[in-house]
């Protein structure tokens, strides 16, 4: 049992460990033998498509779900263990939770909302007040103590929710899609604020989302989950973008092109309606004679001298870049070009172009 833990600055949770967690709802197995360690002082993003089990992981850590197997440890202390029949209820796990719909209590003022966790831990009024003020400072809501949630905008309610989570625990926060209900501009702003908050306090944060953009922007490390709940890759944003572990991770970020290739006579050809010569040298990283070339739209450039020819099917001007849909025999690929200058060359429909491919990656082909 935890003693009543008074929140101190700089007190760090050691680490959060999940081992062999299994969760099923009836027949449907959501998590199978899931293990993960979260290092202290980091923002770790858990990202995946809906239904992949990311929310289930968060709820298992919080104690809202009882897994059928496995252990959950925070700071080396067991919160849940199926084998040892340990199941510490949520109110004794000392985790700060931020919910998707904010879950700010409408019948309590901003002050009372934020003070609640401290009241539950039997702190006196004199002890509570400075901590609430501190939390309000962290989220830029000083002066709003007496407001009721109905008087606040969505973004302000979210900040109150974060402040409340901080008073619950400034060591360890779990955030479940906290910004999806905000509009685009506000989302950007909140991400910056969350990052700055974490840097000031050194809090360990688990950030659950399906929004790749938010995860890339915010998190130190990202766990990418496949639809069946298994881990595809754990890494920094740099690693995920530059060294994706597999095809799922590669295509998870943005929209990618996949072109089937085949090796013949020591040369690499595009394996389309016609075979088009692509490269005269074989890339060592090809998994076999038949493979799938994965290439991001931004990594294809127009090159008049290239032997690979294609036709522009559509050209869309988006301001900061052009989206081109380019036709190869038998398939259409996307090419993106940043608009560097007003006078940069743009291409119109039905124009014939040459394509050069940078940063290629090869993956397995299903029909290989």
């Amino acid at each position: 049992m935890h003693p009543a833990r008074i929140v101190l600055r700089g007190c760090r949770v050691e680490k959060v460990e999940l081992k062999n967690i299994c969760v099923s709802y009836g027949e449907h197995a959501v998590l199978k033998d899931f293990s993960l360690t979260i290092e202290p002082g980091q923002i770790m993003g858990i990202v995946g498509p809906s239904g992949c089990g990311k929310t289930t992981i968060a709820r298992a850590i919080c104690g809202f779900i009882k897994p059928q197997q496995g252990t959950v440890k925070i700071d080396g202390k067991t919160m849940f263990s199926h084998e040892d029949r340990v199941d510490i209820p949520p109110e004794q796990r000392y985790i700060g939770v931020v919910f998707q719909d904010y879950a700010v209590w409408p019948h309590l003022s901003v002050y009372d909302n934020i003070a609640y966790p401290l009241k539950k831990r039997r702190l006196s009024k004199e002890e509570i007040s400075p901590q609430v003020q501190n939390a309000l400072e962290q989220v830029n809501m000083v002066g709003y103590e007496k407001y009721m949630p109905s008087q606040l905008s969505g973004g302000q309610q979210q900040r109150v929710a974060i402040a409340r989570a901080l008073t619950s625990s400034s060591d360890f926060l779990i955030m479940d899609e906290p910004i999806t209900n905000l509009d685009a501009k506000l989302r950007e702003q909140m991400l910056v604020e969350i990052r700055m908050l974490q840097q000031r306090l050194g809090t360990t944060i688990i950030y659950i989302t399906h929004d790749q953009e938010a995860a890339l922007q915010l998190c130190d490390k990202i766990v990418i989950l496949e639809p069946d709940g298994s881990i595809a890759q754990i890494g920094s944003d740099e690693e995920i973008i530059r060294n994706p572990a597999n095809r799922f991770v590669f295509q998870f970020i943005g929209v990618s092109n996949f072109i089937p290739v085949v090796v013949e006579d020591g040369k690499v050809f595009f394996d389309l309606e016609k075979k088009i010569l692509f490269k005269s040298l074989i890339h060592e990283k090809m998994p076999g004679p038949k493979a799938m070339l994965g290439i991001r739209p931004m990594d294809i450039v127009f090159d008049d001298d290239s032997p690979v020819r294609a036709t522009v099917a559509q050209s869309v001007f988006l301001g900061n870049m052009y989206n081109y849909f380019v036709r190869l025999p038998g398939m259409e690929i996307r090419v993106q070009q940043m608009v560097i200058s007003e006078n940069a060359k743009s291409y119109s429909e039905e124009q014939e172009v040459g394509l050069a491919f940078l940063e290629e990656r090869y993956f397995e082909r299903e029909d290989a």
């Binding site: 953009e213 922007q217 991001r296 001007f317 301001g319 993106q336 007003e342």
Partner: protein, 367 residues
């Protein structure tokens, strides 16, 4: 041929809390036949009000509106043609598909109103549903279908009478982000096939630029600029249009003899080659995507922060004590703390702006 003409259109109304508000001021526009034209602006700028005046759901306070050469609204002459007589197609933001009618009856409705014979109705509905890729769903009810499909029912219903003009009110904002791009193509394709003129209203600048032949930017009831997307993006007439059409950096500078120096440190040369007419304090506006980031030469800077985006990498680089944002493909990779160089390509220069404009916009957003 001018299909839709608005002359000196003004709309003002009085509310209890804010007094008299001029929602649309002296609006002048002619849209050509077959064009795809968009109204772009922040919420509360008057774009939807203008669209509703064209449709006939709102009356004008001043001015006139002509459709196909015919005067349909004129306050002074007391002319007002009701919406049902204007022969327009309209698609609403929340689709407004009738839940008590199935897909067939929804799309057939405008024809039934016209009292077309049943056999013709059947033919035309089938044809329209085919064009919109809703074949086979005639007997389904809207509540059984997805948002994208409901959007298509709304489009089909508007197209089935072959209108010359289609009005779209924020047509894509209620759709899943992934669906928006394919819907954009649908709309463009339908325009090519059926040949109608489109006016659509949006607050999303990427959407407006992707779809429009010409567009306008509005703010607080006033048209700021009319032109093609490229014209507005590359040659914006003022700072508002510049900032609204895409991400921007604004840096305070002092220009002397064709050279721009940082205002905070006048020895720090940012850009050489401005027009020689410019002298004194200015704001330098640059696009993050139009700044070259390299390790060879240019203005010396340090990488302060790296943010990964799905399509490109964003770097915050130091400029004096401040910073600007640079966007570049992922493969152009730097680490925080790296020393590097930037080359600013085509900055624009604006006069420093006042804060009153920001206040007025906030006030209108409460309407």
């Amino acid at each position: 041929m001018d299909q839709i003409v608005l002359e000196h259109v003004t709309k003002s109304f009085t509310t209890k809390s804010l007094g008299t508000v001029v929602a649309v001021k002296d609006f002048n526009l002619s849209v050509k036949k077959g064009e795809c034209f968009s109204f772009l602006g922040p919420s509360g700028c008057g774009k939807t009000t203008t669209l509703r005046m064209i449709a006939g759901f709102e009356d004008l306070s001043e001015g006139s509106i002509y459709l196909d050469g015919r005067l349909v609204s004129d306050k002074k002459k007391n002319i007002y043609l009701p919406p049902e007589k204007r022969k327009l197609g309209m698609v609403f933001q929340a689709f407004a598909v009738w839940p008590h009618l199935n897909v067939y009856d929804n799309v057939a409705f405008p024809l039934k109103v016209k009292k077309c014979p049943n056999s013709e109705i059947k033919k035309r509905v089938a044809l329209t549903l085919h064009h919109i890729n809703l074949d086979g769903l005639e007997k389904a009810y809207p509540s059984d279908l997805s948002g994208g499909q409901q959007q298509r029912i709304a489009l089909a219903r508007a197209i089935v009478v072959n209108p010359d003009v289609m009005l779209l009110d924020e047509p894509l904002s209620n759709l899943d982000p992934r669906l928006r791009e394919s819907m954009r193509f649908e709309i463009k394709r339908l325009q090519k096939e059926f040949g109608f003129t489109i006016i659509f209203v949006t607050h999303d600048q990427a959407e407006a630029m992707a779809l429009s032949d010409r567009m306008l930017v509005m703010n607080m009831g006033n048209i700021q600029q009319i032109g093609t997307p490229q014209e507005l993006y590359h040659k914006p007439v003022n700072r508002f249009v510049y900032g609204f059409l895409g991400q921007s950096n604004f840096t305070d500078v002092v220009i002397k003899d064709g050279r721009a120096f940082l205002k905070e440190d006048e020895s720090n040369l940012l850009f050489a080659g401005t027009s020689l007419d410019l002298k004194g304090d200015y704001v330098m506006a640059t696009r993050p995507n139009a700044i070259e980031l390299n390790r060879q030469d240019g203005y010396r800077t340090t990488i302060l922060k790296r943010t990964s985006r799905t399509e490109f990498m964003e770097y915050l680089v130091s400029v004096g004590k401040g910073s600007i944002i640079v966007q570049t493909p992922h493969r152009n990779f730097f680490r925080v703390g790296d020393q590097c160089f930037i080359k600013i390509k085509e900055p624009k220069w604006y006069n420093p702006e006042s804060k009153d404009i920001e206040e007025e916009r906030k006030r209108r957003n409460t309407i």
